[in-house]
């Protein structure tokens, strides 16, 4: 009996969107339009995708035009998140372009009467023996791409790629230095009017009465919109909209709101709420070794704000019962699904089109402001309405990264070797994204006359990297462990996805206690880690970082060194970080040395840029950042109250990439945060002899730790 040969599978994004023409088209005189479903959020993804397409098609990268994602035509690739864009969109495009190239070679072979195997492609020109030639563009009429991808296409071997794997300049940067409009904030649609939404200062308060008299007389006012607890203004200029909003605020009466936790006892709050408990992973020891003692350590991380430099912005225009939305959302289809629920419209009536915003580090207010614009545009008589949030609203009403309490118990034998390990997490869920539930996740949906409840954040399944539990299963070979995640079922502080989800907190906790155990044993922390790793790629990044940082430099007074390591999501990029800090009355991170392995690095300089950025952002989280609140208000609503690291404060960052062209690429955007956090905390111990287990590591926290230790 003959077995059917296994059918090779299409890449996941391509299986969901198999039509070739939805990804690539040859346009006009010598252009190639590439249409990914993933979006540019400041990470340089469009350049990496252009490189992949240029390579597989054998065209100059300058010919490639990246089409912004839109529900009108783009493949549906869900959300641009989780460091998956190169992995998902990149693989799909590589496959599509390889197949398109193959189909064009077949058509050229027929037209030129030359065996396809003898044909060559150079910048889109197809030529063969006897100086015969044609091109993609000449053949475009003969080759229909309105067909589904097949599983057979074979991409180029890694060694023959000329573009992917080499650093190229990002395609979007010239526009940005020459101030050519590219951001949604700078887009001027014809007849554009401006909207602003009235939001409470008191957390969870609802608008119960509104005196519109003062706002009605503001010059330039177009409309005042009220839908239950949602209220806003539309005006013919931003200045007029601001003035009208100010007047409207004076006429607002709010309900009492909902109490916030005690910001100085986050662990107490997180551990006293109703929870849903999941055992994430359990490993039973082959042989039970007796524990001589158990090390119990408690860690916390605060709520962290996205704090993009631009406040969120969107535009919307109604045409009868049809709607067009411009957004910097991470997922145009997902946003459309939520809009359809709120508006009770078929999704086909809505087009959601992406435009670039400022750097996006997860689920911020981009989706919320889109619904704001849609609701206000109802009163604009068919004119497009642009809404831009205030800095205050951005820092208080957008979702935050969730606070976490983490406890690890490590059972140690008489030699302080680990024989048992229990890791427990208390946290809100780390995802309440739109488009994934029967209820919308958008802020205004909780405010309108028939409101939806605030969506309580959940955690993505472990197969997708988990949420609060992300990176909680050690990559180290420990004999036994139990990992437990407790997800809160209440959510007084709104949380959703922020870079790494729970990964930063879990890596901080794991790498901190490991460091402590290494010190107990009198063993070098790097040697200790290497001894517990079975994955050579993991060991390689640690060794590379150690070599580059000349581990371990001679002990100097006032200077400390620390190491941190993780493989993001345990399935993505490997990253090791070594921090050099200066600790006197305050902590200054002087230098971060990192080694990273993302498999095939499509644009190595782009990977370095992402790792540098992640390292600096993580340093800012560790040293400075904490969402502040009293029992009724979020109080960190400006850059003064929510400081981030400045130019004079950022560390030098040195990155080494271990290039592995034969291994499928993974993303780099979230790889550095966990390792850098742990490296800094461990360097603080090396420098000052105290363990700070509550982030951020501030002067006050260090003093408290010293008092506790003395």
């Amino acid at each position: 009996m003959s077995m059917p040969s296994p059918v090779p599978k299409l890449p996941v994004s391509l299986a969901a969107n198999p039509k070739l023409s939805s990804w690539v088209r040859f346009s006009g005189e010598g252009g190639v339009a590439i249409s990914p479903g993933k979006v540019e959020i400041g990470q340089g993804i469009v350049t990496a995708l252009a490189q992949i397409a240029a390579d597989e098609l054998d065209v100059d990268i300058g010919r490639i035009e990246l089409i912004r994602a839109s529900t009108a035509a783009s493949p549906n690739e869900g959300v641009t998140s989780g460091s998956l864009s190169v992995q998902q969109s990149g693989r799909a495009l590589r496959h599509v372009c390889a197949e398109v190239r193959q189909r064009f070679l077949a058509a050229a072979s027929e037209r030129l009467g030359v065996d396809a195997a003898l044909l060559d492609v150079d910048d889109g020109t197809i030529s063969g023996p006897g100086n015969v030639r044609t091109s993609y563009w000449e053949l475009a009429g003969d080759v229909s791409l309105d067909r589904d991808a097949t599983a057979g296409a074979v991409a180029k071997p890694a060694a023959t790629r000329d573009v992917a794997g080499h650093s190229v300049q990002r395609v979007d940067i010239p526009d940005k230095v020459f101030a050519r409009p590219r951001f949604i904030h700078d887009c001027a649609l014809p007849d554009l009017v401006h909207g602003r939404v009235l939001r409470p200062d008191i957390s969870g308060a609802r608008l119960i009465a509104l005196d519109e008299t003062a706002a009605r007389v503001v010059p330039g006012l177009v409309a005042i919109v009220r839908d239950g607890g949602f209220a806003g203004v539309v005006a013919d200029s931003e200045a007029a909209a601001e003035a009208a909003l100010k007047a409207l605020r004076k006429g607002a009466t709010w309900s009492a709101g909902e109490p916030l936790p005690d910001e100085d006892d986050l662990a107490g709050f997180l551990k006293s709420q109703p929870i849903e408990t999941t055992v994430i992973d359990a490993r039973a020891a082959a042989a039970t070794k007796r524990a001589a003692r158990t090390l119990r350590r408690k860690y916390t991380r605060p709520y962290i704000a996205h704090a993009s430099i631009a406040p969120s912005c969107a535009m919307a225009r109604w045409d009868g019962d049809r709607l067009h939305v411009w957004t910097h959302s991470q997922g145009v289809y997902l946003l459309r699904a939520d809009l359809a629920i709120v508006l009770e419209l078929p999704a086909e009536n809505i087009v959601v089109e992406h435009m670039e915003g400022a750097g996006c580090y997860g689920h911020n207010a981009a989706d919320d402001v889109a619904l704001d614009a849609v609701l206000l545009a109802k009163a604009a008589g068919g004119r497009p309405v642009r809404v831009q949030w205030s800095r205050h609203d951005e820092m208080s009403h957008a979702p935050f990264g969730a606070a976490m309490a983490i406890e690890i118990e490590a059972d140690l034998d008489a030699n302080s070797e680990i024989v048992g390990w229990r890791h427990a997490i208390w946290s809100n869920g780390h995802a309440a994204r739109p488009g994934r539930a029967a209820q919308p996740a958008l802020l205004a949906a909780t405010e309108i006359a028939n409101p939806y409840p605030r969506m309580i954040s959940t955690n993505p399944p472990a197969a997708n990297g988990g949420g609060g539990d992300r990176n909680s299963v050690p990559l180290y070979d420990l004999p036994a462990w139990t990992i437990t995640s407790h997800r809160l079922l209440t959510m007084p502080v709104r949380t959703s996805a922020l870079r790494t989800l729970g990964g930063q907190g879990n890596v901080f906790a794991i790498e901190s206690i490991l460091d402590e155990i290494a010190v107990l044993r009198g063993e070098d922390p790097i040697a200790f880690r290497l001894r517990h790793l079975r994955d050579e790629r993991a060991s390689d990044v640690i060794r590379a970082a150690a070599r580059r940082a000349q581990w371990k430099p001679q002990k100097q007074s006032g200077i400390g060194h620390g190491v941190g390591f993780a493989r993001y999501k345990n399935t993505g990029a490997y990253c090791a970080a070594i921090a050099e800090i200066e600790g006197t009355d305050d902590i200054r991170v002087r230098r971060l040395t990192l080694a990273v392995d993302v498999g095939e690095a499509i644009n190595p300089d782009g990977v370095i840029n992402q790792i540098e950025g992640g390292a600096i952002q993580a340093t800012s989280w560790v040293l400075r950042e904490r969402v502040r609140f009293d029992r009724t208000h979020i109080t960190s609503t400006s850059w003064t109250d929510y400081p981030i690291l400045t130019f004079s404060e950022v560390p030098a960052v040195d990155v080494e990439i271990i290039q592995r062209p034969e291994i499928e690429p993974v993303g780099a955007g979230e790889a550095a945060h966990g390792p850098v956090t742990a490296a800094i905390a461990n360097a603080v111990y090396d420098c000052l002899g105290v363990r700070v287990r509550d982030l951020p590591i501030t002067r006050d926290r260090i003093i408290a730790a010293m008092e506790l230790a003395s």
Binding site: F178, E238, I309, G359, E612, I644, F647, V650
Partner: protein, 156 residues
């Protein structure tokens, strides 16, 4: 409303405006000059920086009355793709950004610095950019780009 006269990117401007309206509002809302970006509205992030004389200043809290007769330069006035400023070239060479939203303000702060101090040290560059925030973590690339532009100007 009074007419307020000032120089914008080398051209004479006369704008009828409420003297209390901000320069950023007038630039973006009235004149279509969208290089300066709104970030906070409180002069805390630098995304809206413009050069007034040889100083980088926040335009989001700068009232129009204070702009009268001043010489204002936005990132559009630094240079174009055809005739670029050394800083613009250096930011491309160093790939000195991720999202780039803060970059127009940072280019202005750097240009003002180089106007006052054509060969700054790295510490001076960082100090000059301390009123500009970058959330993506591209600081070190930007500092390298400013030093590169300074070096290029010095040798040309």
């Amino acid at each position: 409303m009074p007419t307020i006269q000032f120089q914008l990117n080398g051209a004479a401007m006369a704008v009828e405006a409420d003297p209390d309206q901000t320069l950023l509002d007038v630039l973006r809302g009235r004149l279509g000059v969208t290089g300066p970006h709104f970030g906070c509205g409180a002069g805390e992030c630098g995304a809206c920086h413009v050069m007034v004389g040889d100083r980088a200043m926040a335009s989001c809290d700068m009232p129009m009355w204070s702009v009268a007769d001043k010489d204002v330069v936005t990132v559009e006035g630094l240079g174009t793709a055809e005739q670029s400023h050394p800083l613009q070239r250096a930011f491309v060479s160093e790939q000195a950004m991720q999202c780039g939203y803060c970059v127009s303000g940072i280019l202005i702060s750097a240009a003002a610095l180089l106007k006052r101090n054509p060969s700054p040290t790295e510490t001076e560059v960082r100090a000059a950019l301390d009123r500009n925030l970058c959330r993506c973590g591209s600081h070190n690339r930007m500092v390298r780009a400013v030093l590169r532009a300074a070096a290029e100007t010095a040798t040309s």
